[in-house]
Amino acid sequence: MTEEEIMRPENLVYKKPALLNDNPMHYCPGCSHGVVHKLVAEIIEEMGMEEKTVAISPVGCAVFAYNYIDVDWVEAAHGRAPAVATAIKRLWPDRLVFTYQGDGDLACIGTAESIHALNRGEHIAIIFINNAIYGMTGGQMAPTTLMGMKTSTCPYGRVADLHGYPLKFTEIAATLEGTCYVTRQSVHNVAAIRKAKKAIRKAFENSMAGKGASLVEIVSTCNAGWKLSPEKANQWMEEHMFKFYPLGDLKDTTAITEDSL
């Protein structure tokens, strides 16, 4: 087959979502953000919500998410995205409103806003990128930094008596009456990416169906912050992060499963 033959539209099996523009991403090679951005853009397109989406970006690496996905964006103060989303969704109930936040934003400085928006059952979706480190500011300790893990503000490793323990925010979210869907995913291989996409799609559908608040944690790599190659970062994540942050659904009140029938 010639190149021209391969390039025919009917042979197309994959393409970049139109919502994902051509701006070069500032994310480091190997970082999970790029994959998650692509999934978000694909899902918005598949749901036909291009004209009805309002997204809220955090403070952290994803602050510039608005440079890459061509929907309307509000950039929130550090940690306040769920409060910003609360108002937008209440005032425009037919819009798809989601926040995209990192661990420092969501599970540290914005813990109160996150818990209360989820607990009020706001019909929003929260995408929670957990890479156990503050990436944007250069690799400081996060609320989710694992015990023993070295960062620039715990250079000898995280120890309980100095730094306390890593926070399992998603486990907390699952206990809240207002959440309908709480899940923990990853994007380190194709199978995981497919699962993560389904999870984000479900969270967005829940938002539009008015079923309550959804939280999708994506256990992610920060190979630059972790000081590992992209490949090693994925291995390290599988070996260490998944032990403390096991993947899978923690809560789903929307599903009709075989067990519940």
């Binding site: 061509d70 929907v71 309307d72 964006w73 306040r80 409060a83 609360t86």
Partner: protein, 362 residues
């Protein structure tokens, strides 16, 4: 013409009723004395069943102001109310609103400070309100009501100004105006804006991208310092336009006055009695009441300053607005201050005495 709806109510209640009537889309608040009646009144009135206005009791003032930020970003008329310590907590959000040019209304029913302070009336947040309050070079449009009527009327005015200039606006009230009951004429009902009206009036709003336009992005962030300076220059030009066009004040018996009292809000109410008492003694005193604290009526004060023997800045604080009066008059006339702090509201005779001691006898 429909008959005027004259009612008797607290200033805080008037704010709530005015919000429902002026097409406010969302109120987001957190309880704090002495302004909790705003949220309580809204909860009783259930405007979500009538006008469709959204009312949310937030988890903190931080959340409240960021809900206002989000709602305003989406083109909606949104407001919050609080009292001094709560408004201190909101400063981050207000700075972000100014930076991202998001409109919205903040009502501060001031109490004594600093810190947790007292729950009695004060005007000690003048600096915080008129100097920006948060980080960066910015200004908030500040209206100072001196009656329950103005508490109601300024809600719509603040929204109008806020959306006109895409800038946060504040009603700087205090525990006196918030808690006292007075007769007022309720403002007429004005419907909430439709989606089409918002699309037209707020083409910048983040309410879903229509195909023909680029995405709207509302942010205060710009890492390129050259671009950030341009953004600042744009903001400063806007503030200059507001200074030129939006100064509001009230003049009471100023034209024949030998001495001038400058007072805002509840202090101006006391000031009315003070000029009456002074004039009964044969001292010609006038009252200049700034209605907008920012932009400040510097021009009018400078004009009057050239005609009087002295100016007393009467504020319920340690002396904050007095600095703006001194800047406006630039050493051309003696300027003194009298005030009480911590929630103590001065009596008119104290102010008369202060005027004599600080300006007439000296």
């Amino acid at each position: 013409m429909a008959e005027k709806e004259v009612v008797l109510m607290k200033g805080n209640e008037a704010v709530a009723h005015a919000a429902i009537r002026c097409g406010c889309d969302g109120y987001f608040g957190y309880p704090i004395t002495p302004q909790s009646e705003v949220l309580e009144t809204l909860a009783l009135e259930k405007p979500w069943e009538t006008t469709g206005m959204v009312v949310v009791q937030a988890e903190s003032e931080l959340a409240s102001i960021n809900m206002v930020y989000g709602g305003g970003a989406a083109g909606k008329r949104c407001m919050t109310s609080s009292s001094s310590p709560g408004v201190a907590l909101m400063q981050e959000g207000i700075a972000y609103m100014a930076g991202a040019e998001i409109p919205g209304l903040i009502v501060n029913v001031q109490r004594g400070g600093p810190g947790l302070g007292s729950i009695q009336p004060s005007q000690s947040d003048y600096f915080q309100a008129t100097r920006g309050g948060g980080n960066g070079d910015y200004n908030v449009i500040v209206l100072a009501p001196a009656s329950v009527q103005e508490m109601a009327d300024f809600v719509d005015l603040a929204f109008e100004l806020s959306f006109k200039y895409r800038n946060p606006a504040m009603i700087l009230s205090d525990g006196v105006i918030g808690q006292m009951m007075e007769k007022l004429v309720l403002p007429p009902f004005k419907p909430r804006r439709t989606e089409e009206q918002i699309q037209e009036e707020c083409p910048w709003a983040t309410m879903g991208r229509k195909k023909e336009r680029r995405p709207n992005i509302l942010t205060s962030l710009e890492l390129d310092c050259g671009k950030m300076e341009q953004k600042n220059l744009h903001l400063q030009a806007k503030y200059e336009e507001i200074r030129e066009k939006e100064v509001r004040f009230e003049n009471v018996l100023c034209e024949d006055a030998e001495y001038l009292i400058v007072a805002f809000g509840s202090a101006a109410r006391i000031g009315l009695k003070v000029i009456e008492m002074c004039r009964a003694e044969g001292i010609k005193v006038g009252l200049l009441r700034p209605v907008t604290l920012w932009p400040f009526p510097a021009g009018e004060i400078a004009r009057l300053g050239r005609r009087v023997k002295g100016i007393l800045s009467f504020e319920i604080n340690a002396g904050q607005m007095v600095e703006d009066i001194r800047l406006a008059t630039d050493g051309q006339v003696p300027v003194a201050h009298y005030g009480r702090m911590g929630g103590v509201v001065p009596a008119p005779d104290e102010v008369v005495r202060a005027l004599k001691e600080k300006l007439i006898q000296s």
